[in-house]
Symmetry: C2
Subunit: 99 residues, 2 copies
């Protein structure tokens, strides 16, 4: 799960995320997305749900929060780039945000 | 609570935080602190406790988390700088982190 993705795997696992609000990060093999909610309760509620999955999968986001906005960056430090775990967590975050 | 602090109030309310791990942010009337925990569960546990107080007081931090590290910036947008709410939340965050 933590090997860096091949080109074929990216086409299969990362491309759908890039079509669903995620974008490649400049200068890093990582993906980023800004999630916007109605208020802090909803934003932090999303983070709480995401935190449980992140801990369960032992794969944690780099993220920040200002009131109703949550910025998330996903990459796999052990793989020095995107792995299947990032694809899995990215899809889960979209689902948790109701997308 | 949301008026910008006077110099006298800063000496009373902000100085103790600057002596307890907080620092002024360059170019902003804001304070910043890096909290480091043993792991993600402890870091996010701290954020969860902090989030409940932030929502109760309707005063929310700008913060980011990477695994066991939580970076927090406090300021009061309505006051265009530090207010008593920042002093109160800063002291609460120190207490929640066990400091």
């Amino acid at each position: 799960m933590t090997d860096k993705l091949t080109e074929a795997e990216r086409a299969e696992q990362i491309a759908p995320l890039l079509a669903a609000g995620w974008a490649m990060v400049d200068g890093r093999d990582a993906i980023h997305k800004t999630f916007t909610f109605r208020n802090f309760v909803e934003a932090f509620g999303f983070m709480t749900k995401a935190a449980l999955w992140a801990e369960k999968w032992n794969h944690h986001p780099e993220w920040s929060n200002v009131y109703k906005t949550v910025e998330v960056t996903l990459t796999t430090h052990d793989a020095d780039g995107l792995s299947a775990l990032d694809a899995k967590l990215g899809a889960k975050l979209n689902a948790l945000a109701g997308e």
